[in-house]
């Protein structure tokens, strides 16, 4: 279990102090896939980097299985870090090492005997489905493959936790899906507790069992599964909205009216990933609600306006056809 108690991180520079995290209290239960979602600059990355002390918190405690890692000695911290794997947005592979050597890296750090290490590397590459790429170099891999190598590397020392710092943000949607699938499998089959930092609601929806919404340095909302993500208190409503969350109505307890629940077309557009409401989404044929299509058909006869027409058809229309090719004059 990872517990954050009153965690505060303040960056001080010549221009003044920037509060990145303010009094964060959070518990990541064992076995969960815990999503932390928020806009850029909300402090998500700082939060996850505090979990293995890549970032030293200004105040507060980080408890890993009850042990306060902000207070332990350097040597113990290194041991603890081996039980917390981490993957990154930019993969951070060693460019001069092969895939297999990258995965072997954390094993070398703990001086695993060569034979055992080789065996473990083979196992891990099989797990992430990259056995045949063992001798390739990172520059020869695609983004998704690189992230798989990074995952294999992070799992080499059998960690109990896996931190994902925007791990899918540099990947396309299909690759994101496959990486999330792999993470879910790791969570299920190996029992690794996973913390996912992201700004994409889709990631939380498809992978997370728990979610925390981070809005301007504070936890705005914590809940179990996507159904519980609600629009947080006024100032942070934007956070959830821009993340593409489907806001469910809930007042903020200060007399504010509950936000409107999008229905029908708008909900459908949001579901398909529209971020700017239905009007802009409509222009995109993929976001077209079935209702819209029916209306188009009514208004424009048998053709819907968005569809590209063939040259023949365009010619026919140009020649005055109103009801498609059959009714028009082709000459």
């Amino acid at each position: 279990m990872i517990e954050l108690e009153n965690l505060t991180k303040i960056y001080s520079s010549k221009e003044g102090e920037t509060v990145a995290l303010e009094n964060i209290d959070l518990t990541v239960p064992d076995g969960s896939v815990f999503g932390v979602i928020g806009l850029s600059g909300a402090g998500k990355s700082t939060l996850v980097r505090c979990l293995n002390l890549l970032e030293q918190p200004t105040r507060g405690r980080v408890l890993i299985d009850g042990e306060d890692i902000t207070a332990v000695k350097k040597k113990r911290l290194r041991e603890l870090r081996r039980s917390i794997g981490m993957i990154f947005q930019n993969f951070n592979l060693l460019e001069q090492r092969t895939v297999a050597a990258n995965v072997r890296f954390p094993l070398e750090l703990v001086k695993t005997p060569r034979a055992a290490a080789t065996e473990r590397v083979r196992e891990l590459l099989a797990l992430v489905g990259l056995s045949e790429k063992a001798n390739a170099y990172p520059s020869q891999l695609s983004g998704g493959q690189k992230q798989r190598v990074a995952i294999a590397r992070a799992l080499a020392t059998n960690p109990k936790y896996l931190l994902c710092d925007e791990a899918t943000s540099a990947l396309d949607p299909a690759t994101t899906e496959s990486i999330l699938g792999l993470l879910k499998r790791i969570n299920r089959e190996l029992g690794v507790t996973i913390v996912i930092i992201t700004h994409e609601m889709k990631v939380v929806e498809s992978a997370c069992t728990h979610v925390a919404v981070l809005g301007s340095s504070r936890i705005a909302e914590v809940g179990k599964s996507r159904r519980r993500v609600r629009v947080p208190a006024v100032g942070d409503r934007k956070t959830a909205h821009h993340s593409g969350a489907h806001p469910l109505p809930c007042g903020d307890g200060r007399g504010q009216a509950p936000p409107r629940l999008p229905r029908g077309r708008e909900r459908y557009a949001r579901h398909l990933g529209a971020r700017h409401g239905v009007r802009r989404a409509r222009q995109h044929s993929l976001c077209r609600h079935p209702q819209d299509r029916r209306k188009d058909v009514r208004a424009h006869g048998d053709r819907s306006p968005g569809r590209p027409r063939s040259d023949r058809r365009r010619q026919a229309v140009f020649n005055g056809a109103k009801r498609g090719i059959q009714g028009g004059n082709l000459t």
Partner: protein
């Protein structure tokens, strides 16, 4: 071709000069790396935002390096003759020259190493940290291997600089092509001897430069995609 030049070739003095130049350059560069490499690593890791920031040590080492680098080699050579005497017992000859070259090249190489190491992606270092690597492990297994191609390029530049210095060191009887050019050429008013020495120096520099760059390209795995296609092309 003057009789001096022909006799230099006949009794192999010229070839000995070429050999001495190469030998002294390689030896001096190697010894300079013994001092410069750890110094460069320290400069990189103790810097603010480095692996183990120690600002005062960084300032101190940086200051020393800057002082040595700002002294022109010719002056440094004269000023540090007592040091050569203390180390090798003589103030002239090849041994003394090597001492001078190392003193002059080590700070230069330290800066080269520092800049090579700073090119290593901070994210990779962070990843190693997150896996529980110690500072020493990070230097040995991340910084140095990841910066290898850049370090090789740095070594090539360092070597060519040392070669240039070695010609100046001929004034203390260091040996090599520089000394031949001065003693047999300049002092005897034989221009062809000077130009022959220049020619050989240029050849040596070209070999070091091209060889080093080839090695750097070969070791760099970041561009191995192109290399593979080249290999395929050659096979056909």
């Amino acid at each position: 071709m003057s009789d001096v030049l022909t006799s230099l070739f006949r009794d192999n003095t010229m070839w000995l000069g070429v050999f001495e130049t190469v030998y002294l350059t390689l030896l001096s560069t190697a010894l300079a790396y013994v001092i410069g490499l750890p110094l460069g690593v320290l400069l990189c890791t103790t810097d603010r935002g480095g692996l183990t920031p120690v600002p005062w040590l960084n300032k101190l080492l940086g200051g020393i390096v800057n002082i040595f680098r700002s002294i022109p080699f010719l002056i440094l050579m004269v000023a540090f003759l007592p040091v050569a005497k203390a180390i090798v017992g003589k103030t002239y000859g090849p041994a003394a020259m090597v001492v001078m070259l190392v003193i002059a090249a080590a700070p230069y190489i330290a800066r080269m190493v520092e800049s090579s190491l700073k090119e290593v992606d901070a994210g990779v270092v962070e990843a190693a940290k997150s896996m529980g690597a110690s500072a020493f492990q990070i230097v040995r297994k991340v910084y140095l291997p990841e910066a290898k191609p850049s370090l090789i390029v740095g070594a090539v530049i360092g070597m060519v600089t040392v070669l240039g210095y070695s010609a100046m060191a001929s004034t203390i009887n260091g040996g090599g092509l520089g000394q031949i050019a001065i003693f047999y050429g300049y002092n005897n008013f034989k221009d062809d001897v000077i130009w022959m020495c220049v020619f050989f120096t240029v050849i040596i520099v070209q070999i070091i430069q091209e060889g080093g760059m080839l090695l750097a390209r070969r070791t760099d795995k970041r561009i191995s995609k192109n290399k593979k296609s080249k290999k395929l092309f050659l096979r056909r």
